[in-house]
Symmetry: C2
Subunit: 405 residues, 2 copies
C-alpha cells in the first residue's frame, strides 16, 4: 500500500481523486502496489463528498506523516505551492504536479532536491495536459539531438482562434464564448497574452536541450490583436493562424518565441482544432514527430498526474533522472531570429507597392474580396530587427503576423 | 563503458551504428555511461567500412563474451532471430529489437525470460518506426484504461494510397513507383496485404489491454483491391482511404481488424500523408491522443532502437515491467463487429435503389461525375456478417470499403 496526499481539491485535484477511484484496479496493477489517497489538503471542507474524511487544512499533517510517500500538488500558483513542494521533498516524499508556473520558475531547484534524495519530482501534466510529452522527451527521444519543438500548448487560445476561423467572429466575441463554455477563465490574461504557453515551452525546451531556459527570456506575444480580417486573409492563402510556442536550434544557437503564426496544410499542426493541443518535435535522426491530444480539462490533466503517481510508485527511493541542468541556456536576441511576415496595410497596391518593394524587396501580395481599402503582403525570411526597421517606415500598417511556410 | 553487439548490418543495423556514432556525446550523457559497439554480426564482411574490425560471423562469440551487456537484434525474420534473442537473454544480456514479426510471435516468452532474469527485452522500433509509442503506452498511459488503438502503421501502403489520391494513379502504378523510390520492397506482400500492420496492432493491443493478442486472430485485409475509382468516390464525400489497423473494446469484448477504411477530416488520422505513420489512442480518462511521425526509414527506426539501448543501459540488472501477460485475449468474431460500409455497384440508382433499400434499409448514395454506369451507397452501422449476407444478394458489386464517420 502506497499512501498519497493531494494538495488542492480544485478541478485537477478532484480529477486526480476521480481517476484513482475509477481506474483503481488497473492503476494498482501498473503501480505493482495499491495506491491509497490518505489526505486531501484544502482550505475548504467538502461535506457529503467521498473525500470529506480525508480533508485536512494544515500541510504540517501531511509533512509529518511518514506513511505519505507521494504528494500530488494541484494547487497552482507559486506560493505556497513552492514551499509545500520543497517541504514534501525534504521530508522524503516524491511530488507530482500539474503546476507549470512552479515548474518553469523552480523546476531545476526542485529536481535537484529530489535527485539528491533519490526521490522524484514529476510534472507530466504541466505541458500539454493529458498528452504524454515530458516522459517521452526524457526517456524515449534519448537517441536524438532535438533541434526544434513547436507546440500549440494552450487550449483556450486555440479554441478562440478556431472559433474565429469557423464563425468569422471577432476576438472579443470568441473570448466571451470561450468564457461562457468554461474554456477561458474570467481573468484570461495568462492564456490570451501567451504567458501560459511561454512557461510550457520554457519547460519543454529545458528538457529537450538539457540546459535551463528561463521563461522570462522568451519573446512572448498573445493573440489579442488578431482580428477577423486577419483570419480572412489567412484563409485566402490556405492558412490558419495558431498561437505557436517554439524553440529552435539554429547553428550553435537557440531561440524561443511565443506568437501567433500563419501555417498551412503542410504543417502537421495545421489541423489541430479547438481545445486540442499538439507538440511537434524534430530530432536530428528521428526527423518529424508530433504528439496530439487534450491539452487541458479535468480528466485528461488528471490522467497525466496519475501516470506520474504510478511512475513515482514504481520508483520509490530511486530517482528517475531528468537532463535539465541549472546551467542557463543563452537565447539568441529576438532581433536576430529570421521569420517571414504577413503585413496588412491600408491603401491600394497601386499606390503602396513601390514603397513596400523598396523597403522589403520581393514580396507576395494578398487581397481579400470584400475587404477594400487595404491589402496585405508577405515578406521573404528576414531578421526580426530588420523587419521592425522596415515596418516603422510604413504608414497604415494594420497588423503583422509571422508566417511559417 | 557498456559494450553492445548489433545483429545484422542491414538498413536498420547500419542505422543503429550511425546514430550511436553521430550522437555519441548526448547518448552517453543520457545513458549515464559510454555505449560502445564491440561486435557487428553479419554473414558478410564490410571491407573499408568503419565497422570492418568489429564484424563477426558467429553468434557464439557474442553469446560467450561477458562484456556484452546489450544485444541489438536488427536481423528481421523469425529465425535465427528468435534463437539468438533467446540465447542472448539466457546469457544475461538485454535485447533491443525492431523485429515486429518476432515480437508478435514470441514476445510474451521473450519478455518472461527477461523478467525472470532482471534483464530487458525492448521493442520500441517494432511499431511506428521512430514514433515513441511502446514506451508511452507502457509507462505514460498508466492511469487510463485504453479502449481503442487505431493506427496507420505501414508507411508503404500509406505512400501508395496517398500517391493514388494525389495523382489519380492506379494501385499497380503507385506500387511500382513506391518500389522505384525504395518505399516498397520487391516482394511487397507483407505490406500491401496488411500482414505487417497486423503484427503491429497485435503488439500494441497486447500492451494496451495487458493480455496477449495473437496476430493470427486478427481479421486482415490489404489494399490491393483499392482502385482509383474508389478514391474518386472517397474524395467526392471529403474522405480519404487509409489502411487502418484497429482494436477496440466494445462493452466487455475486444475486436481487432486491419482493413482499408474511409475517414474524413474529423478524424486526426485523415491528414497523415505519404510514408508517415500515426497511432490514435483513446483512454477512458485521457480521451483522444495521437502520436505521429516517421513510421519507417533507416534513421528514424534506428532512433527508436537506440532509445531502447539507452533505456537498457539505465536499467542494467533491473527489469522494466511490461504488462503483457501470456493470457490470451479472446477476440470477438469478426462477423459481430459493427461497421458502416461503402459499396460501389454497377447500374443506375433508378434501377437498383429499391432492392438496395430492401436489403440494407436507409443508405446514403454517392455518384461521381464522369463515372457513369455505376454509383455507390453507404450503409448505416451493421454487423459485418449481416452486411456480408446482404451484399451476397446484390449483383454488380464493384467494391466494398469500411467507413468510419
Amino acid at each position: 500500500m502506497i499512501k498519497i496526499a493531494v494538495l488542492g481539491y480544485g478541478t485537477v485535484g478532484s480529477g486526480v481523486v476521480e481517476v484513482i477511484q475509477t481506474n483503481h484496479r488497473s492503476i494498482n496493477i501498473k503501480a505493482a502496489d495499491e495506491i491509497e489517497i490518505k489526505y486531501v489538503l484544502d482550505l475548504r471542507d467538502f461535506p457529503g463528498d467521498p473525500v470529506q474524511e480525508k480533508v485536512v487544512h494544515d500541510f504540517d499533517v501531511i509533512e509529518a506523516d511518514p506513511e505519505i510517500r507521494i504528494v500530488v500538488e494541484t494547487m497552482g500558483g507559486l506560493h505556497p505551492a513552492y514551499e509545500f513542494t520543497k517541504r514534501a521533498l525534504l521530508a522524503g516524499k516524491s511530488v507530482c504536479t500539474s503546476n507549470k508556473e512552479l515548474v518553469a520558475a523552480y523546476g531545476t531547484e526542485l529536481l535537484q532536491i529530489a535527485r539528491d534524495r533519490e526521490l522524484n519530482y514529476m510534472f507530466e501534466a504541466s505541458c500539454g495536459g493529458g498528452i504524454p510529452i515530458i516522459r517521452p522527451l526524457n526517456s524515449s527521444l534519448t537517441a536524438d539531438e532535438i533541434d526544434e519543438i513547436t507546440g500549440i500548448l494552450n487550449g483556450t487560445t486555440n479554441y478562440i482562434l478556431t472559433k474565429m476561423a469557423v464563425d468569422g467572429s471577432d476576438f472579443d466575441e470568441a473570448l466571451r464564448e470561450a468564457q461562457q463554455n468554461g474554456y477561458a477563465e474570467r481573468n484570461p490574461e495568462a492564456d490570451i497574452e501567451g504567458y501560459d504557453a511561454c512557461r510550457k515551452i520554457a519547460i519543454l525546451s529545458s528538457l529537450a536541450y538539457g540546459s535551463h531556459v528561463s521563461y522570462q527570456d522568451i519573446y512572448t506575444e498573445g493573440i489579442t490583436k488578431i482580428t477577423s480580417a486577419d483570419i480572412k486573409y489567412a484563409q485566402t492563402i490556405g492558412a490558419s493562424i495558431k498561437l505557436l510556442a517554439t524553440s529552435r536550434k539554429v547553428g550553435d544557437e537557440f531561440y524561443a518565441m511565443v506568437s501567433p503564426v500563419m501555417i498551412n496544410a503542410s504543417n502537421p499542426l495545421y489541423s489541430v482544432q479547438g481545445v486540442f493541443n499538439a507538440i511537434f518535435i524534430h530530432g536530428n535522426v528521428l526527423g518529424d514527430a508530433m504528439f496530439y491530444g487534450s491539452g487541458a480539462g479535468k480528466l485528461p490533466t488528471a490522467s497525466a498526474v496519475v501516470a506520474d503517481v504510478v511512475d513515482c510508485a514504481k520508483h520509490l527511493d530511486r530517482n528517475v533522472r531528468f537532463e535539465w541542468s541549472d546551467q542557463q541556456l543563452e537565447l539568441m536576441p529576438v532581433g536576430r531570429v529570421r521569420n517571414r511576415f504577413f503585413v496588412r496595410v491600408a491603401g491600394t497596391m497601386a499606390a503602396e507597392m513601390q514603397k513596400i518593394r523598396s523597403i522589403f524587396g520581393e514580396v507576395e501580395t494578398v487581397s481579400v474580396p470584400g475587404l477594400s481599402g487595404e491589402f496585405a503582403f508577405i515578406t521573404e525570411k528576414m531578421p526580426e530587427s530588420e523587419f521592425q526597421d522596415g515596418i516603422s517606415q510604413l504608414d497604415g500598417v494594420r497588423s503583422t503576423i509571422r508566417v511559417r511556410f
